[in-house]
């Protein structure tokens, strides 16, 4: 079957699937950004930033993950339910981390 235009597909479907199909241009832009950010992460790791090395590295990783989630995984164009689901997962992960850390951070308090 030859490639159909987006309009033709939507016209032949009895039900309307996605709002729109994400095009190759978007993927190229996002993909290149991700590669640039990867190079940046590696390059910045050679700078002496003290504790901020970890902060910057994780920060860039978060930006990359956000780009993948929003564009490659189509969450930007998805229903509220999908967005809520992603948020719920991230939230639960943070509960695990932060509440476990309440123990480890405070273990040595008052002991010296």
């Amino acid at each position: 079957m030859s490639e159909l235009s987006q309009k033709e597909i939507l016209d032949t479907e009895p039900t309307h699937h996605e709002e729109h199909i994400v095009g190759p241009k978007v993927y190229l832009v996002i993909g290149s950004s991700l590669l640039v950010l990867t190079a940046a992460t590696t390059a910045i790791s050679y700078l002496e930033l003290g504790v901020f090395n970890a902060v910057v590295a994780l920060g860039i990783a978060c930006i990359k993950a956000t780009l993948v989630i929003l564009f490659f995984m189509h969450v930007k164009y998805s229903s509220k339910l999908t967005k809520l689901t992603v948020a719920a997962g991230i939230f639960t992960f943070f509960v695990l981390i932060t509440m476990t850390m309440t123990d480890y951070i405070s273990r040595a308090w008052g002991l010296w």
């Binding site: 719920a88 639960t92 695990l96 476990t100 309440t102 123990d103 405070s106 273990r107 308090w109």
Partner: protein
């Protein structure tokens, strides 16, 4: 005694010609089914088998504890008894009990769908459960596990040479069974409700299962990775939980209890759902404060994730974090209490009748309240330091799990038995069994509160002689309890052939499941239902029965 049961005329009544039970015959049609109802029956059979195996181990424990010295079996063997009892009862019975049997059967019907969202995943779920169960039996026959169901490190990773790996794998597999069931429920409830079935018209049974499913999906994977790490530690000695290599044994406990605390809500929430349905039906009244009960289910699920370290107060967590977890534990009791109040207000000025499901529901309300309150006592750090690792804890969790959850399970099985099989169970003997269970339960577990308070440690095969009297009482109660559990097995089996024909709505209950034939058709509904009335609308039901012509498939 008055009753609301209304059965069709037994001279002329018969089971429907076509139903999910006789749609197809043969073992393959059951073992390769996609029908959620058949999968529910498969689960019911396997869960019952494991319940009685777990019960056997309970019997062994109580037998040993009749006398103060460890004379019936060696201490190591005793450790295996309570470990196997715990693993089987928690992972192979309590976690799947209501969701996988009654939930699987009813959720699609209650939302007005033809099946769950992913029937094949549902079947896979059952097979994973069976594989998990077989692996547990394998661990047992190879020699057993004696770590306690909590697999505490470094005992489980370094100091024992029992079959921890097999047991760990078993629970890993069974955990995925639970995850897939929860996933299926969440998707079904969100996406497959019939026209007009808004969230706030759903039966509270569905809300409870939704909350439990969220816990299953988010919590169980953490248990899975924890078990993987324990297995890796045992097999290649990676050292994440080994103090000698720099690991922290408490990290295991954080990860383990991150799941295992929500797990107790996974176990009890579906039971709450059953009780909502039963109490409403047998009071002929809508559940008081529907919205509060619905939101409290969700609140329990959310808050349940914030309190896990109350299982670790004496393990070496910092006092400051223990304080935080203790305060949050007080909070999490509130939604559960809201439900108890709302059920009580449902009963108030209702037309109460005492059929067997209602007897179990009353038992649930009283015993769960006691169990829950003792949980709050234990959540307060000061009390926990004295009471933890004693029989007080054992009594607490048996009150909520056996007095609560198991009674709710039995209530549900009896309540929906006519729907699942088309036949009524015999009311006289079932009421007797419920009473026997209640008496046996109290005799078994109430003395354990006193024992714990007096200082008898848990997981010990031997104890000081001054505790013997209470232990003997407890064992006597366990025997009575055992009778109470065997009886339903017998009369429910009997009812399959000789029980009265139930008709579609013997309880005069509201809810979509009571509008279809008993047993239901494979596709549940002849036509897609349209809902334009609220849940527990008894006036609507009264109107409908006046105008109804019953068609049976």
């Amino acid at each position: 005694m008055s009753t609301i049961v209304m059965l069709p005329d037994q001279q002329t009544a018969s089971l429907p010609k076509r139903s999910y039970l006789n749609e197809e015959y043969g073992l393959k049609s059951w073992l390769l089914t996609g029908d959620h109802k058949r999968i529910a029956i498969l689960y019911l059979i396997s869960i019952t088998i494991f319940f009685f195996i777990g019960g056997f181990f309970a019997g062994m424990i109580r037998l040993e504890l009749l006398t103060p010295p460890s004379d019936l079996m060696a201490a190591d063997t005793y450790n295996k008894m309570f470990t196997m009892h715990g693993i089987i009862m928690v992972f192979l019975f309590l976690v799947p009990s209501v969701p996988a049997t009654i939930g699987n059967f009813l959720i699609p019907i209650m939302v007005g769908a033809k099946d769950l969202a992913f029937p094949k995943v549902n079947l896979l779920s059952w097979y994973l459960y069976v594989v998990g169960g077989i692996l547990v039996l394998a661990a047992l026959t190879l020699g057993g596990v004696d770590t306690g169901w909590t697999f505490t490190t470094p005992l489980s990773t370094h100091y024992l040479n029992t079959h921890v790996i097999t047991a760990g794998l078993a629970i890993f597999v069974a955990g995925f069974s639970s995850i897939f069931t929860g996933l299926n429920f969440i998707v079904t409830i969100h996406r497959m409700r019939a026209p007009g079935m808004t969230w706030f018209r759903l039966p509270l049974f569905v809300w409870s299962h939704y909350a439990a499913s969220v816990l299953m999906v988010l919590g169980t994977p953490v248990l899975a990775i924890t078990l993987v790490l324990v297995i890796l530690e045992r097999v290649i000695g990676i050292g994440v939980f080994d103090p000698a290599k720099g690991g922290d044994p408490l990290l295991f406990q954080h990860l383990f209890w991150f799941y295992s605390h929500p797990a107790v809500y996974i176990m009890i929430l579906p039971g709450f759902g059953v009780i909502s349905e039963v109490i409403s039906t047998f009071s002929r009244k809508r559940v008081f404060g529907y919205t509060a009960v619905a939101f409290s289910s969700v609140a329990i699920a959310v808050f349940g994730f914030f309190v896990w370290a109350h299982h670790m107060f004496i393990m070496g967590v910092s006092n400051y974090s223990a304080l935080v977890f203790s305060l949050l534990t007080m909070l999490v009791a509130v939604p559960s209490a809201i439900k108890i109040f709302n059920w009580s207000f449902t009963l108030y000025k209702g037309s109460i009748t005492f059929e067997t499901p209602m007897l179990y529901a009353f038992g649930f309300m009283g015993l769960f309240t006691i169990g829950g309150l003792t949980g709050v006592f234990l959540g307060s750090m000061g009390m926990d330091i004295h009471l933890t690792e004693t029989y007080f804890i054992v009594a607490h969790f048996h009150f909520v799990m056996v007095g609560g959850m198991l009674m709710a399970f039995l209530a549900g099985v009896h309540f929906w038995w006519p729907k699942m099989t088309g036949r009524m169970y015999p009311e006289g003997i079932s009421k007797l069994a419920a009473l026997i269970t209640f008496v046996g339960f109290n005799l078994t577990f109430f003395p354990q509160f006193i024992l714990g308070y007096l200082g008898m440690p848990r997981r010990y095969a031997a104890y000081p002689p001054e505790f013997q009297a209470l232990n003997v009482l407890s064992t006597a109660g366990a025997t009575v309890l055992g009778v109470g559990y065997v009886l339903p097995l017998l009369y429910l089996a009997w009812s399959l052939k000789y029980g009265k024909i139930a008709g579609s709505n013997p309880w005069q209950a509201t809810g979509l499941e009571w509008q279809i034939q008993s047993p239901p058709l494979t596709e549940n509904f002849v036509e897609t239902p349209v809902i334009d009335y609220e849940a527990y609308d008894y006036e609507w039901l009264a109107n409908k029965t006046k105008h109804e012509v019953q068609t049976v498939g």
